[in-house]
């Protein structure tokens, strides 16, 4: 049986320090898996290793049974893995529409000739790019469409920037989306809304999702499985309920159970 994404004994070392050591992990088609763990546990490094931004020291990463190690980030995206960034990295001076159009680069072909001659193929491709972009933006309701399409991304509010980043990832036509703290900095209402949208990303768009998140309500509401990392090693793995009652996890990550806070 094969998994959509499989990580085998992954180890990433920075200057003698192990950011990740011996991580084994898999994601099946159609799952939503959360990765949680204290700050500095290696969660973002894990995402960076998958998307090719950092090099793995040992181990292997298989996507649909093919190793993605050694591939350039754009090749990884081409295979069908998209991502967002913890600290929201849009293309601030490009318009909202352009942000989402440009991320379809690896799905399109036209180069100089088509653009100069305005060939029929070029025009058709441009139209399709635009349609797909608007579809991805439309997923978030009316906030990112209409007059906003032509606005520069830096004009957006904080929450909208996070939404646009997800739309940009969607437009790369991936099979797997890596979300890095998608609700960080959002208020409770925005968080609740985005929680619902993450579920719809799977049910309506058919994406498989791996998510890093600190907000336990979001983790509880959307994940099929939860993996807990600490010091680059997985310390627990299972459903939210299993993980959240695991004493080791409570010690390292959760503190007191969720209910007694709030």
């Amino acid at each position: 049986m094969s998994h959509l994404l499989e990580i085998r004994d992954l180890k990433v070392t920075f200057g003698g320090l192990d950011a990740l050591s011996g991580l084994n992990f898999h994601v099946d088609e159609g799952e939503i898996v959360s990765v949680i763990g204290p700050n500095g546990a290696g969660k973002t490094t894990f995402f960076n290793a998958i998307s090719g931004l950092v090099e793995a020291t040992e181990g292997d990463i298989l996507f649909e049974d093919e190793s993605v190690l050694g591939l350039e980030p754009h090749q990884v995206t081409g295979l069908g893995i998209a991502r967002t960034f913890q600290n929201v990295r849009l293309f601030p001076n490009m318009t909202i529409l352009e942000n989402v159009m440009v991320s379809q680069h690896c799905r399109t072909r036209q180069l100089v000739f088509g653009a100069l001659m305005q060939t029929r193929a070029f025009k058709r491709e441009e139209r399709e790019i635009r349609e797909r972009a608007e579809a991805a933006l439309g997923f978030f309701g009316s906030r990112l469409v209409g007059y906003r399409l032509e606005q520069a991304a830096f004009m957006l509010s904080y929450a909208n920037r996070r939404r646009l980043e997800i739309a940009r990832a969607m437009a790369t036509q991936p099979r797997l989306i890596l979300l890095d703290e998608p609700v960080a900095g959002m208020n409770p209402m925005e968080t609740a809304e985005l929680t619902g949208l993450i579920g719809r990303l799977r049910s309506e768009w058919g994406f498989t999702i791996v998510m890093i998140e600190h907000d336990m309500r979001v983790v509880r509401d959307v994940s099929d499985r939860v993996v807990v990392l600490d010091h680059g090693v997985p310390i627990a793995h299972g459903s939210y309920d299993e993980v959240s009652s695991n004493p080791e996890v409570i010690e390292a990550y959760l503190g007191r159970p969720l209910e007694s806070r709030a």
Binding site: L53, F91, E98, T108, V112
Partner: protein
Amino acid sequence: MSATMNAPISGSSTAPALFDLDWRRIGTWGGLCALALILVSLIGMPVGLDRRMIIEGRLSLGYLALLWIPLLFGYVVSKRVVLEGVETPDPGARDVLAGFCTGVLSGLGPVLLILGIDNFNLREPLVNWGPPLLEQLTFGRGTGFGIVAWFGIGAVLGLLGSALHVLPKDVRRVISFVIYGLLSISVLEAVISDLSEGFGLESLTDDMYARRGGLTVKSSIILAVVIGVLPILTKGRLKGATNHYKELQGEERKRASMMLFSGVAGLCIVLPLFLGKIVNELLANVGLFLLLALGLNIVVGLAGILDLGYVAFFAVGGYTTSVLTSAESPFFAPELHFGFALIIVIIMAGLTGLVIGAPVIRMRGDYLAIVTLGFGEIIRLLFMSDWLKPYFGGAQGITNVPPVDLGFAVVTGIDPRSVFYLVLVFCTLAIYVSWRLQGSRLGRAWMAIREDEQVAEAMGINTVNAKLMAFVVGAMMAALSGAVLAAKVGSVFPNSFMILVSIIILVVVIVGGMGNIAGVLVGSFVLIGVLGGPRQPGLLQEFQSYKLLIYGALLVFMMLQRPEGLVPSARRSQELHQEEFLQDAWLKGEDHDTEEAAAAAAAGGSEGTGEQA
């Protein structure tokens, strides 16, 4: 901005309103103004430019170089930002008083200089420290007169500058129209008399301009009246038309743009026919540099690759053309036609782009800039070397490059008009290419790389390929410009391809507006046309020796005050829902508007202490 609002907090309520000025601000600006006056005097502008008259016998460019400074500072010192949600008193006597004080303070600059020159001899390090400057500063009437005069002049100009805020809008418009109009008509003397000659109206301009340059007193009065009436007649219409244009949507907008475009194109084709040699020469130079700037705009403006060795491709174009077409070229005997040569030029440019680009493109930021700078020099040194002398003629270069024979016309440097038309064709082509690519998949990829290379890569863009593409397209445009240059001048020398060329083109792109075709156009006309290129004189030939100084000052000014360039791209000047982005950006600590940030910093005198930075 903030300092004007709540001046000295300690001396709160009792002080009379009129004198409750922000003395700190006045002191700063007045002092700066005095310094500026001293600096301009010492670099020799007043004396050097004294012979060029603006208004015959009354005002020379030399005095003008000094007089505009207090006026500007007076304007600046009493300028205030209208703040939302806070009652701002209407500009009034207080502001004028502030301008007046700044002006008086600025008079200190020339006065100190007069006293200094009179009593000490600093000629050794300061070349211009001497009697001519003293004579100029004292208006030839002795030290005492000079001192009184400069305080007076400072006060009047500062007052006038600040009074501009107080005057009603219409009056202000009339005044600025008259000042700018008279200045441009006087400065553009060469073009205007050239043009009127072309139309057979030389009698008109002969009356207008004095024999030794500058407007006559009579004609400047008449012109002032005529120009003054213009804004009253056209009041609001121009703005209405621009607004109307901006509001047009889709097809209508396209049609209006096409009309505008064909209008400009028509002008470009017809106007040179009526222009004389000098102005056509200027236009041809502007065209050559515009072509270069358009290419660099793709590399720097769109793809964000800071290429400081761009001149290399210009050289490759020039040398390839010369080798292939010149009978004097040492190793390639047949004389190809310019058209054939052009094909090879483009191929060579593309290859050079790839060869230089491939190793360089993987570097980032500063490293890339330094390495390209090196490559630019290497190419020039190769052309100059004794080693390649049998091919490229070493320091003597290649001469006798034939004019371009198009069958129906001959393009030659003796007839700058023909060169202009040839360049016009290439520029149009380059503008089309830039425009189409900008809106294509490739153009978007370039912009994404410029914004954040790592993220662009993660969004599926093969950044190495896309950047190489930008390099090659830019190289081709530069090479075309080089080819025309070779045919125009009739020869190429290594010294025509100094680093300075790269830098000046970069300044043109930055000042005009990065990543924006219209900006590059305006930048080329303003900088190359008015100030002149690295070796080409501009309209203001008097400024020849200050050219680089002005280029530098302009660059610093633009970076501080208007980093988006003279013609900002549309997306940068969006007004819709600006509050949202401003508040948000500010709260997130991203200072988009350096002017306000600087003002806030200056007013608070704050220095971050590291941990809060």
